[in-house]
Each structure stands twice: as C-alpha cells, then as structure tokens.
Symmetry: C2
Subunit: 307 residues, 2 copies
C-alpha cells in the first residue's frame, strides 16, 4: 500500500479525475501515466472495485457511507465514485446540485468524488473505468462505484466492477422494477436496505425465492444504514466474495474503458451521420431499394466495404 496522500495529493487526484471526465488526449496521457506507475510499483493486491446500484431512494449513498466507515475501522483505504448520469440537455440542473460532499476531508484514507458528464452513459462508463485506474494507482484498496440503477451507465459498471451489489428498498415493487431493468441478473449480491422499516424481511424473502430461479444462488442480506445494522456482515461478505474475483481486475477495467470508448465512438459517428444528412441518405437509398439493409448498416458502422 502506498503512502497516505496529504491534502495536495488529494487535490491532485481530484483534478486528475476531472481531466479523465473530460476525455481526450490529456485524459489518455493521465491513464497511461497511471498504468506506467502501476508497472513500476512492486506487485501488490489490486483494489476491490464494488459496483453499488439500485433505484433512486433505496439509500445507496447512506449505505456506501456506512460501509466506508466500517472499512476505515479496518484501516482499509476507501474511495467512492458516485456516478450521476446527468442528462445531456440540462446537465442535471433540474435535479439540483447532486455533487456529493466529501464528509470527512481530514481522513486521508477516504476519498469521495462525483462523476457526471453532459454526455452519454457511455462517456460515464469510460470516465468511471479510467478513474478507477487512477484510484488504483493512488493506492486505494476499496473502490465503491455508486450508480442509479437505470440506463447504460450500469452496463459499463458491471464490466468495470469486481462485484456488483444491488440495493433494494423494503417496499414491495422495487424488485419488480429491478427485474425489468435486468439489474437483478447482473447482481452478485443483493441488499435490502432500510431494514428497520416493516416489510424488509418479507422483501428479502421474495427476492430470495425470485433469485432461486437463476443458475447461481445470489446471497440476499438485510441492512439498515441508519444504525449500521448488518453493515459489518455486508462488508465481510463483499471482501470474501471479492477475494476470488480480483485476479484480472486491472485488465478488466482497461477492457471496460476500451468498450465504452468503442461504443462512444460509434455513437459519435451516428450523431455525425445524423447531423450531416448521411444517415438520411442511407435510409433513402434503402427505401428506394438501391441499397440492402445490411450494406447500409455496415456503412454506418464504418466498415465501408459495402458503401
């Protein structure tokens, strides 16, 4: 584990993450330099990267905060990336300022950062993967990547994380939404939070029987972030499950970054073709029977072989 960063190092890390959020050549230079640093460093344990997902309002932030407190009692260095898929049009302004406050600025073993882009979920997935590599180079051993359980960003998180934890509320119905969004199947671990409220145990039971249909049994735990009930057990379970999964974590995070980049580049191509009329021209050729569908789709993808 590297030396405890001081305030200057924390500020530098925060600025580096801003650079990878924006992307482009400066971001690539920072990622390359983090990878260079990791190649030079003595081989050590890779960090455990935990995706925390779930619908808005289930208490993900409080749970991550409680898990961080618990991890600090074990001297683990903890970073939190809160991924907020702000909408392209408003930059999230409609929701008010959701930038997370770093509650314990004097604890050098804890680092909290919101990630938001005005771009797509892909841009967020790209930035989150890059940021996780910077956090690894900075010597953090636990990285929580918290996302609202909706949309494309979560798909990237499943690629990026060593372990995905789905957080549910105690009320019925949330689990149906989670199933619809396909979140439940991506989860390695399910947590029913707000366990102090009535219905939590029943919700856990429903989830257990629902999940019993799947191929691999998924543990369902009950927590209450309010009084930290179940939190030590959850962290223990996360670390136990993560231990067998971290072998290729760094490679997987680079791969997640590459996938998000490739998808982002296609999205850019489509947006360009949309804007300059190429897409409409292709569609018109298909409509007129002058071009087959396959050829037109390949042209759009950039293969160009059938153009």
């Amino acid at each position: 584990m590297s030396a405890q960063p001081d305030h200057t190092a924390r500020r530098a890390l925060a600025q580096s993450i801003s650079v990878v959020e924006r992307g482009g050549a400066p971001a690539d230079a920072l990622i390359a330099s983090a990878l260079e640093h990791l190649r030079q460093a003595p081989p050590g344990a890779q960090p455990l990267v935990i995706g925390i997902t779930g619908a808005p309002g289930v208490g993900k932030s409080s749970l991550v905060s409680a898990l961080s407190d618990q991890a600090r009692t074990q001297e683990l260095r903890v970073a939190v990336l809160a991924v907020d898929p702000s909408s392209a049009a408003t930059g999230g302004a409609l929701l008010g300022d959701r930038v997370r406050i770093d509650e314990r600025p004097d604890d050098a073993g804890r680092f909290v950062r919101s990630l938001a882009t005005r771009g797509s979920g892909r841009a967020l997935a790209r930035a989150a993967a890059a940021a996780s590599l910077l956090l690894e180079a900075a010597g953090f051993s636990l990285v929580f990547v918290e996302t609202v359980g909706a949309g494309q960003a979560d798909l990237g998180i499943a690629r990026l994380a060593d372990l995905v934890v789905l957080v549910e509320g105690p009320e019925g119905g949330d689990e149906v939404q989670a199933m619809k969004a396909g979140l439940l199947e991506a989860a390695d671990l399910v947590v029913v939070n707000k366990g102090d409220r009535p219905g939590a145990d029943a919700a856990a039971e429903r989830l257990r029987s629902g999940l019993a249909l799947g191929a691999t049994p998924v543990p369902v735990l009950v927590t209450s972030a309010l009084d930290a009930r179940g939190v030590p057990e959850l962290l223990q379970q996360i670390i136990a499950m993560g231990a067998s999964r971290t072998a290729d974590g760094r490679i997987r995070r680079i791969a997640a970054h590459l996938v998000a980049r490739a998808e982002g580049r296609l999205a850019e191509r489509i947006a360009t073709a949309d804007g300059d009329g190429t897409l409409a021209t292709l569609a018109r050729s298909v409509s007129e029977g002058e071009m087959p569908l396959t050829g037109a789709a390949e042209t759009l993808l950039g293969d160009g072989r059938s153009a």
Copy 2:
C-alpha cells in the same frame, strides 16, 4: 387507406412481426418486401407513430387502450406495439407472462402485438423499427409503440417515433425518476395519468414548472384512463402535433433500424472479443504500455487501422 385485413391477413402480419423479431436474412427479406410494396402503392399519408413511455405502474397500457378506443370512433386504423425489454437471462419469465392479449380480435381496424427479445435493447429497437414499417405497409394510420421507461430501448423509440409521449403517475417522485433517466427531455408531450387520484393536478403543475426550464415548451395534459377523461383531448393533441412531424417518418424509421443494427453489430463484436480473449489481450497490451488506448479502441471498433 388499404383494404381492411381479414383474419388471415392479421395472422400473416403477426407472423411477419415474429420473423422481424428474430432478425437475420428472413427479416431483411420481409422488410425489403414491405418497402417494395410502399414504393408501388399510391402515395398517401404516412402513419403517425407515437412512442408511449413512462415508469412501470403509471398506467401506460390502459391509456393506450383508451386512446385506441377513441381513435376507432374516428375510423382510424390503430396498431399497438408493446415493447418489453425482457432480460437476456430469463426471457422475462420472472415477470410472468406479459404478452399482451389482443382484446378485440374481431375489430380488423385494431392490431395489438407484444415485442420481446432475449437480446438487448438494441435488438428490440431494431425489431420495433422494422415492425413499424410492416404496419405502415399493412395500412395502419396510428401506431402506438409502448415501452417501459428504462434502458436502451427507449433511446431507439425516440428515433423511431414521430412523437414521444411520457406518461407519469399522480404521485410525487415519478417525475424525478423520469428526469434522471433523461426521459423528460425526449418527450414532446407529457401526460399525468390516473387523473382521478388526488395529487394529479399538483404533479402536472410541478412538471410544468420543471419543464419551463427547457428550451421548447412541452404541453402537460391530465388524463384518467379509467373513465376516459382527457383522452379525446390527448388524441386530438397528438394528431395535431403529429401532423407537422410525419414528413420523413418512413425514412426516419429506416434510419432507426439501421442505427440499431450498427449498434447491435458492435455489441456482437464486443461479445465475440470478450469470449475469445481478444478483448483481454488488447487490454493487456494497453496495460503493458505496448499499445495506446486510442489504437486499442479502434481495433475493437473494427477499424483495424491501428491494429
């Protein structure tokens, strides 16, 4: 408007849609034949394709049903595509059988069909665009495409539809979720459904003031699918707004299909690279400093220029 289809024609249409759901060469042949039919047909009004989106439980299906009843009183031929992003792993079985029942099988002017694939949201967007072209060739003048407001399928629907209607429930909180998912910005029209319940007018007011921040004013209507209150006004508004938007609808639907195909092909490439170890090899080259990030992402995208 073409002749009223009899039971045989309806069955053939249903089977054709099953073929485009599965994709591949038979699907392409059917789409090409629908486009050929449309080229031969006398030029007429293109159908109005309306995307209906919103969170689960807001009453989208009942509202679409009420809108269809209303449209039938005006002799408009109506089709409904209910797009269900069933999860890849379970085929939606966890949710039970959600295949929509065609409630009025004897009304030849009404056609109802569920679309579901075991594939991705992109596969659904591809199938929905193709199905809308088949429905146009079959002479329907109103096509409702109903999706749950989550995930990638909706992005495709915005591309495909002439008009996107976001349905909200009367309870507070839904609008925040809709904003988070970026649904509100894609909407041309917002409907607060279940207007018989308390809070509906207040929710409409909150939405109006939230939407006032945007560039274009978005109308907010209140309906009650239960007693059809507000439904005639909503249909009138939809038709009025759609009238100015249908000019390039067919081209746009072909374009939506092409975009979904290109994205789907990239997803296949990534899945292949994931499965055969190419992706991990690329990531390892980046990790070792042997390949720049840009080159690796381009290789994955299939450009091959930097491989």
